[in-house]
């Protein structure tokens, strides 16, 4: 579904990604793990069309999308829920959700709002409240809900557990698993290695702009080297 090949990207003269290749298949939950500054968000923002890559290719459903505008990419159903949530603080929960279907799935807006508040009952309680007044966890739910409003074919979640309490982190991962069980393809970008591997089908590890480890999540769980470098075990 998503196929990134030899992607080279960065900012101005600073190269961040030095040839990254990865794949996400239909209905798959794929995790991308890596520490701060490994290049995970740079990858996401190139995939979403916010930045233009230096080279390599990004294909979605077999169509080249590297260098396409964010609007075209959203139109195709590749939706990113960004790191730091990026909800619209000056707008209500409802309005945030409505803008999730600004370009895609607009005719199904009312139905999808129902669906989202069913998934996140907390949002229903906060429906008329400004997003800026929500807690971090609620904002993260809103950001994911807003992403779902576009009826994504592939959902990129960039560090959804960042800054959440351990209890909420648990809840978040349960939720991601639920989305996946509904048939949605998810590309999960995380620093939370253990929990990500528990729910993912496959995973990649990124270090300094390169994929260093890849494989089935279960195998990576038992990978000695990964355990040592990431889990300190």
């Amino acid at each position: 579904m998503l196929e990134v090949k030899d992607l080279r990207a960065g900012y101005g003269h600073a190269k961040v990604l030095h040839g990254v290749s990865l794949k996400v298949g239909e209905g798959e939950l794929v995790a991308l793990l890596g520490s701060n500054g490994a290049g995970k968000s740079t990858l996401n923002n190139n995939v979403s069309g916010i930045f233009k890559p230096f080279g390599g290719s990004i294909r979605f459903d077999g169509i080249e999308i590297s260098g396409a505008s964010p609007e075209e990419i959203v139109d195709r159903g590749l939706i990113q829920v960004p790191e730091g949530r990026r909800v619209f603080p000056n707008m209500t929960v409802r309005e945030n959700l409505e803008l999730g279907s600004y370009r895609r799935a607009k005719p199904n807006r009312a139905r999808n709002i129902e669906h989202v508040v069913e998934t996140f009952p907390r949002l229903k309680e906060r429906f008329g409240q400004y997003a800026g007044t929500l807690s971090g966890g609620e904002q993260q739910m809103l950001a994911i809900g807003r992403g779902l409003m576009a009826e994504p074919r592939l959902l990129i979640l960039d560090e959804p557990s960042l800054g959440l309490s351990p209890l909420l982190v648990e809840e978040m991962f349960t939720l991601i698993q639920k989305l996946r069980s509904q048939g949605l393809a998810v590309f999960l970008v995380e620093q939370n290695v253990v929990q990500s591997l528990e729910i993912a089908d496959r995973a990649y590890v990124m270090e300094n702009g390169l994929i260093t480890v890849e494989g089935a999540a279960r195998d990576l769980m038992n990978d000695e080297e990964l355990r040592r470098s990431y889990l300190g075990m």
């Binding site: 916010i50 964010p70 959203v74 139109d75 949530r85 990026r86 619209f88 309005e95 409505e98 803008l99």
Partner: protein
């Protein structure tokens, strides 16, 4: 009466109230000019120095539609408002946005440059002479007992209220309006929802220019047109925007009315030139107690 050593004339209640009423009508015009300015500030976070020149240009458009084709200045709104929108949209997309490379200080200078260019174009093309639109109902109006109100004043007030309400509803209920508010606070988030931020910038600039074009229509029957006419209104509109709270529509309306009333009453007591000092006085006074303006912060 005596105020800070200046002896003030005393007037009857009717005279003062009459001044206040005419201040409301004047304030409505300030509000309308400020409305476009506050929208552009709220979304693009820039002070649009070209706003006064755009007002001037729109007033010339109204004037020439009237003198050349005999179009009534109010009817001209149907042409200058859409025209203003397109002009503003293209100006932002092709000149200001392009020249600025996304840096706020350059946008500021770009609008200043546009303003100088437009003004000198007007001097060159239309000369520095004042021109007047004359309508048969210029001095017709209604006598409210204590004050005589001419129709152009009534139209200005009604127009300002209607346009403020329409703009508020547009921002609240339409997808484009919501996208404008989203872009104002969270550009990256908006991009990821497929909102074309550059398009929204230009739409905001277009709407701001359309507001100023509407103001031009409402002004034309009462004010002369000349290349520097924009300054008459835009300097006060800046005051109104800050007073009302930058980015707030309601603030622009209320701020405009406050300034209009203050100015008229100030003129009544302190005379035509010294009276203007009251604008600064009320401005400072309100900011002392509400540094973000009356309705600051929220768009």
């Amino acid at each position: 009466m005596d105020f800070l050593g200046i002896s003030l004339p005393s007037y009857s209640f009717d005279t003062v109230f009459g001044s206040a009423i005419s201040g409301v009508f004047l304030g409505a015009i300030y509000a309308l000019v400020a409305l476009g300015l506050t929208l552009i500030y709220g979304v693009l976070h820039i002070i649009n120095f070209a706003h006064g020149s755009l007002l001037m240009l729109a007033m010339y458009a109204v004037f020439f539609l009237w003198s050349g084709l005999g179009v009534d200045p109010y009817l001209a709104m149907l042409i200058v408002v859409p025209g203003g929108f397109c002009f503003g949209y293209l100006l932002q997309r092709s000149v200001i946005g392009r020249a600025s490379h996304g840096r706020d200080e350059i946008i500021l200078l770009a609008t200043l440059g546009v303003s100088i260019a437009l003004e000198n174009f007007a001097l060159f093309a239309f000369s520095a002479n004042e021109r007047n639109v004359q309508v048969p109902y210029d001095f017709d109006g209604i006598d409210l007992g204590f004050v005589y109100v001419v129709w152009p004043q009534v139209a200005a007030l009604a127009g300002s209220l209607l346009i403020t309400a329409a703009l508020w509803a547009f921002m609240k209920f339409t997808d484009t309006g919501k996208a404008i508010r989203a872009v104002a606070k969270e550009r990256q988030g908006a991009r990821l929802m497929g909102i074309n931020v550059e398009h929204i910038f230009a739409v905001s600039f277009g709407i701001g220019t359309a507001c100023v074009a509407a103001a031009a229509s409402l002004l034309a029957p009462t004010y002369a047109v000349f290349p520097q006419v924009g300054y008459l209104f835009v300097l006060i509109a800046f005051t109104v925007v800050v007073l009302g709270g930058m980015g707030s529509f309601v603030g622009a309306l209320v701020g405009g009315l406050i300034i209009g009333v203050t100015e008229q009453i100030g003129r009544l007591y302190l005379g035509e030139s010294l009276g203007l000092i009251t604008i600064s006085a009320i401005f400072i006074l309100i900011l002392l107690f509400r540094p973000t303006g009356l309705f600051g912060q929220r768009l």
